[in-house]
């Protein structure tokens, strides 16, 4: 089964080279989809191997797929597939001569993320994470506008600096491992309990590494690059970044947490991750209240969800399966949303929320999946985010972190209300053509809602249409989905059912959590 360890790295790279070479756009555009499929396929193979109690390794243990890695690789593949396939309809605004590099970079990006989750070496993983910054830098700046350039600059500077901090932390962890006689950066070795690691160095190294990777994970206060980058990148790239790049960084945090937990106990990182998580929720809540741009809205929602995952990570063992399920649910949902947001941006021509109105009447083909995905995102069942959030919150209280999850709930409520308001602003309402009638209705109903009446008022009866009264059919709505529907259906369908699959998903989650010292 070891070949499945190199396919997710090699296939995308080969496809990337091919897409630089192949001049046929139609074929070239399929390369990222094929790369994602390769990653997903490898991930599923590795999952089956893991479930059969194997741990495939390659390159002298440099690449290793335990349950967690296999799971994360599957998530990368699945989210990649949704983003790239769903993004096929997305017209890249860039000149044609860069189009090849766009497809190539996405493939390399996927390979880099695969490497990051498969590497058994922290240093290698660090290099892979830094490689994701490098590949996505041009993707963020792909549109070559002033704002995309601005976003790309901020992304690279803030991202690299953050990851550099992580490197500092890794260096300290490496220094701490000198006590074992054979300094190492292997996850497998370092996660073992009872190693003679220098606790002070581990604490500092762990803290710095977590802080560094928190930048890539979009956790406050290191999140600042995220809204800009997500809003400027082409939609499929935003989907990939939000859906899995953040999750890969979280994966790194979880791995480092395992190392530190074994040496200094869980308390230190628990406090740090709680603060980061709550701060992320707070930032997301504060900036969602009056958000004006729907892609930024999605970006802040990513910060929120990463914050929630960080809280879950802080809680530790009891919440880990929920956090891992969260990664999948959030990845698929957010990828779907970014894909749709790209389509909305394309057909509406504006990223502003108040520029997009009455979408449900005008373009049900876009609004319906958007609404369903938003419902999934804000945590409605049967979508898996619901289970993850409930799982994390119950686990939090059980672990004695009631105050933290209590605050989290308050912030989640604000976020929920804001997201609902913004979504409703975008989708609900009557289109401009029937605004006059709608206004009359609004006026009349406002009177009704305020329980008001006009005693002896001169009756100029407004034409009121009660909710039970027949409605005039709206002008011919646009039912087109503006791109492939199937990936969206698959993504949403998967998140809807995945939480109900005890076997093998449940087992896989349990084993992946066990790798992190979770439930055995």
């Amino acid at each position: 089964m070891s070949f499945a360890l190199w396919t997710p790295l090699a296939v995308p790279v080969i496809l990337a080279l091919l897409s630089l070479a192949v001049p046929v756009p139609a074929l070239r555009r399929l390369a990222p989809v094929a790369s994602s499929a390769a990653v997903l396929g490898s991930g599923l193979l590795l999952v089956s191997a893991v479930l059969a109690d194997q741990v495939p390794t390659l390159g002298g243990g440099l690449l290793r797929a335990d349950a967690l890695s296999a799971y994360m690789l599957t998530v990368v593949g699945a989210v990649g597939l949704v983003s790239t396939w769903g993004g096929l309809g997305h017209a890249t605004a860039a000149p044609a001569r860069f189009a090849g590099s766009y497809d190539a970079l996405i493939s390399v990006f996927l390979a880099a993320m695969s490497l990051a989750v498969l590497a058994d070496n922290i240093g290698l993983m660090w290099a892979a994470v830094e490689a994701t910054t490098i590949t996505t830098a041009f993707l963020v700046g792909h549109h070559r506008t002033r704002s995309s350039l601005e976003a790309a600059w901020k992304y690279v500077i803030l991202g690299s600096v953050g990851v550099a901090i992580a490197l500092l932390g890794i260096v300290l962890i490496y220094a701490a491992s000198r006590g074992t006689g054979e300094p190492t950066l292997s996850w497998l070795v370092l996660s073992q309990a009872g190693l003679p690691l220098d606790p002070v160095l581990i604490r500092a190294g762990g803290a710095l590494a977590v802080l560094g990777f928190a930048t890539k994970a979009g956790l406050a206060p290191m999140h600042s690059w995220l809204p800009d980058a997500h809003s400027q990148a082409p939609a499929p790239v935003s989907g990939l970044m939000s859906g899995v790049l953040l999750a890969v960084a979280l994966y790194a945090i979880l791995r480092i947490q395992t190392i530190t937990n074994a040496v200094i106990g869980p308390d230190f990182l628990r406090i740090m991750l709680s603060i980061a998580g709550l701060l992320s929720l707070f930032v997301a809540a504060a900036l969602l209240i009056r958000q004006r741009d729907f892609k930024r809205m999605l970006a802040y929602s990513s910060i929120e969800h990463m914050g929630m995952m960080a809280v879950g990570a802080a809680i530790g063992a009891a919440a880990l399966p929920a956090v891992l399920l969260y990664v999948l649910g959030h990845g698929l949902t957010k990828a779907t949303l970014f894909v749709i947001s790209g389509r909305i941006l394309e057909v509406e021509g504006t990223p502003r929320i108040d520029g997009v109105r009455a979408l449900l009447v005008r373009r049900p083909g876009l609004a319906v999946p958007w609404l369903i995905a938003m419902a999934a995102l804000i945590g409605f069942p049967p979508f898996s985010i619901f289970f993850s959030e409930v799982g994390i919150i119950i686990a939090g209280w059980t672990t004695g972190m009631g105050a933290v999850v209590g605050i989290a709930l308050v912030l989640l409520l604000v976020i929920f209300a804001s997201l609902t308001r913004l979504t409703v602003t975008m989708t609900i309402g009557a289109p401009a053509a029937s605004v006059t009638a709608g206004a009359a209705v609004a006026a009349g109903a406002a009177v009704g809602a305020g329980a008001a009446g006009a005693a002896g008022a001169a009756g100029a009866p407004a034409e009121l249409a009660g909710p039970d009264a027949p409605a005039a059919p709206p002008a011919e709505p646009d039912r087109s989905a503006h791109g492939p529907r199937l990936p969206l259906i698959l993504a949403l369908g998967t998140t809807a059912v995945v939480a109900f699959i005890a076997e093998p998903v449940g087992t896989l989650l349990a084993r992946a959590a066990a790798v992190l010292g979770g439930i055995q």
Binding site: M272, L325, V361, I394, L413, I428, A451, P470, F500
Partner: protein, 672 residues
């Protein structure tokens, strides 16, 4: 597979059928096909509930990917009762919905959500653990929110209603989640049977109780979490409003019952006081707002707050009295609360369906523009009238029996064998009686106004003049609802006995059937047989009718287009009292609470200061709690949202500073 399991599986199956059907069937047949399927889904709920109520066994396990206690569905008797009630309303709502063709509520979205909504609602009472409870709770919320969505294109105010509703629902959900989480933390499991081992005297139990009360109170539309109600229900079509206000609120009550009866029975006395205070406040505030409302659906919506307030008042009295060892009265109060819940479901569903019928025929919900519908829509008038009697707690409807029992429990509660049980109880009980009395009085006014202004006298607008009766299927639904109201009022005995068995085994109210189907609450010596009562009334009616016919034979009735009418020579519909003017004295009396805003505009004739051409009076009563409590918070949040943008002002130096400060902080912390 047991019957119970088959029933639950049947609901799942019917949901799947209804959802796929709604997506496939075309506009022409959709309402009929899917409406029938929804009605069947709800009927399956009734059957399942009945099986559970009579002690059926069986369970369904929902698989889950997360390693938690299994998600088991297995309704107990209490759950079965609630499931039955909720499903019965669902049947009515579905049948009524069939009649809505070619409108927004016949759309795909609407029917899919209707099925999902009913399904979620029906299975909440089946849950035996936290996660499945929350799962179906949220499915219910999702379904009801989506139901509102179906109307967005025709009504501009739907958007704000959806936002309010979702936000308040989520608030409730989070309260419930937090409350359950506290209990789960105290016991280490998520199954209800495990949670029931928490000591009610512990602080965890109290914290959980308060959180859960707030959560369930929100769903039950209690003050101050009711703010969504007057916004949402007027936006929903009649049958949806019926399902929400008639059925969904019961899930809130069920939640409270779950806490007070199943999980944490024998709680401390202050729980009861809290419940009673919340309930009493809701009852008074709700009915006060209802009594001055001119929009029929707003009126009904606030009346729900009132009734749920009374249910919680009863529940609170039960908890308080139980803590004071006045067990018989406590049990009677509990039974009364449940009776009220059941009867409320019947009459409120019918009332909202009636409102839906009016809206369908006239497109008008403002009572000030209705009138004279009694002769134009006789079926609607009769059924609405019966239900209104229920809502006003007049004999011999279901509402009357429930309130009677509640009052009986309260007056027997403060003393056991002549001894005062506790100071708290002796203060709380009379106050509760007074609250119920005032509430009942105002409810009477409210529903006299609603019925009298809408159905009696002459139409106040052209639309009301042209009103026609609704289609047969809607009438069927209305009649079924009204029959329910009257039947529950006439034969409350078996229901009370069933309720008494449902709250067992922790509670064992000694309630029996007496006479034909009357209630005999042994513990508090309270007996009532509505049937005998009706027989007596009928006997008394006989001589009156004889006299009537004797007189009528010789002196037939004459009709006159212009009766005395204060001696006037012309009589226009606008000279009639309207709903607003009807409530005017009350608005004045409760001026301090309602804080109405009045706007009087006088136009003079020419230059004269004495001759008035016209007077324009506008009065509006807004929800004080919304304007004084929620608005300031929302405004503050909005201001904060604008302020917070500065944190993300685009300066990379600022962003780098955040990282830098974070790095320095971490360095300092690790070196401490």
């Amino acid at each position: 597979m047991t019957a119970l399991e088959a029933g639950m599986l049947g609901q799942v199956l019917l949901l799947a059928l209804a959802v796929t059907g709604a997506l496939l069937v075309g506009t022409r047949w959709r309402s009929r096909v899917i409406g029938t399927l929804c009605a069947l889904l709800a009927a399956a709920g009734i059957v399942t509930g009945a099986i559970a109520l009579f002690g059926g066994e069986g369970s369904l396990t929902i698989p889950t990917a997360l390693p938690m206690d299994p998600l088991v569905l297995s309704p107990d008797r209490l759950g079965g009762l609630v499931m039955m009630v909720v499903s019965a309303v669902g049947v009515l709502a579905s049948l009524f919905g069939i009649g809505s063709a070619r409108v927004a509520s016949a759309s795909r979205t609407s029917w899919v959500s209707m099925a999902v909504f009913l399904f979620g609602m029906q299975l909440v009472p089946a849950a035996t653990d936290i996660v499945s409870f929350l799962l179906f709770w949220e499915i219910m919320t999702l379904g009801s929110t989506a139901l509102l969505l179906a109307h967005h294109a025709t009504r501009g105010t739907v958007a704000s209603a959806i936002v309010w509703y979702s936000a308040m629902s989520q608030l409730s959900f989070f309260f419930v989640l937090a409350g359950f989480a506290v209990l789960a933390a105290a016991t280490g499991g998520t199954g209800f049977s495990g949670l029931a081992t928490v000591d009610p005297a512990s602080w965890q139990a109290s914290l959980a109780f308060v959180l859960l009360l707030l959560g369930f109170g929100g769903k039950a539309e209690l003050v101050p979490l009711h703010v969504w109600v007057p916004r949402v229900l007027p936006e929903a079509p009649g049958h949806v409003a019926a399902a929400m206000s008639g059925a969904m609120v019961n899930i809130g009550v069920y939640g409270a019952l779950l806490v007070c009866v199943r999980l944490l029975p024998n709680g401390p006395a202050w729980w009861g006081v809290l419940l009673m205070a919340l309930g009493g406040l809701s009852a008074l505030y709700g009915i006060l707002q209802a009594s001055v409302a001119s929009n029929l659906k707003v009126l009904l919506a606030y009346s729900t707050t009132e009734n749920m307030g009374l249910v919680f008042l009863g529940l609170g009295a039960s908890v308080l009295l139980r803590a004071d060892d006045a067990t018989a009265a406590a049990d009677a109060a509990l039974v009364a609360a449940l009776l009220l819940m059941v009867s409320h479901a019947a009459f409120k569903a019918t009332l909202f369906l009636g409102a839906g019928a009016i809206a369908r025929s006239t497109g008008e919900m403002n009572l000030d523009r209705l009138g004279g519908l009694g002769s134009r829509m006789p079926w609607t008038a009769a059924t609405f009238g019966a239900a209104a009697m229920g809502a006003a707690a007049l004999p011999v409807t279901s509402g009357f029996v429930a309130e009677w029992m509640l009052l009986q429990a309260l007056i027997h509660g403060s003393r056991v064998d002549g001894e005062v049980v506790s100071v708290t109880a002796s203060v709380a009980m009379p106050l509760a009686v007074a609250v119920i009395a005032l509430t009942a009085g105002l409810a009477l006014l409210t529903f006299v106004k609603a019925y009298g202004i809408a159905f009696l006298a002459r139409p106040r607008s052209p639309k009301a003049t042209q009103a026609r009766e609704v289609p047969v299927i809607m009438r069927v639904s209305l009649v079924l609802g009204a029959l329910g109201v009257i039947a529950l009022g006439l034969v409350p005995g078996p229901l009370a006995v069933a309720i008494a068995s449902a709250v067992g085994p922790a509670f064992a109210p000694d309630v029996r059937t007496v006479g034909l189907a009357g209630v005999d609450a042994r513990g508090i010596d309270a007996v009532l047989d509505p049937t005998t009562f009706v027989v007596l009334a009928a006997l008394l009616l006989v001589p009156v009718l004889i006299a009537l016919f004797a007189s009528a034979r010789r002196h037939p009735t004459r009709t006159s287009p212009l009766p005395w009418a204060g001696g006037g020579s012309r009589l226009r519909p606008r000279m009639q009292y309207t709903a607003t003017s009807y409530a005017e004295p009350l608005v004045r009396v409760f001026d301090d609470v309602l804080r109405p805003s009045r706007d009087v505009e006088v136009t003079h004739v020419g230059e004269s200061r004495y001759l008035v051409e016209r007077v324009h009076v506008e009065q509006s009563v807004s929800d004080v709690i919304e304007t004084r409590f929620y608005r300031p918070m929302l405004n503050a949040a909005q201001r904060f949202g604008i302020l917070a943008r500065r944190a993300q002002n685009g300066s990379i130096h600022r962003y780098l500073s955040y990282s830098f400060v974070a790095l320095l902080s971490v360095l300092i912390v690790v070196s401490l």
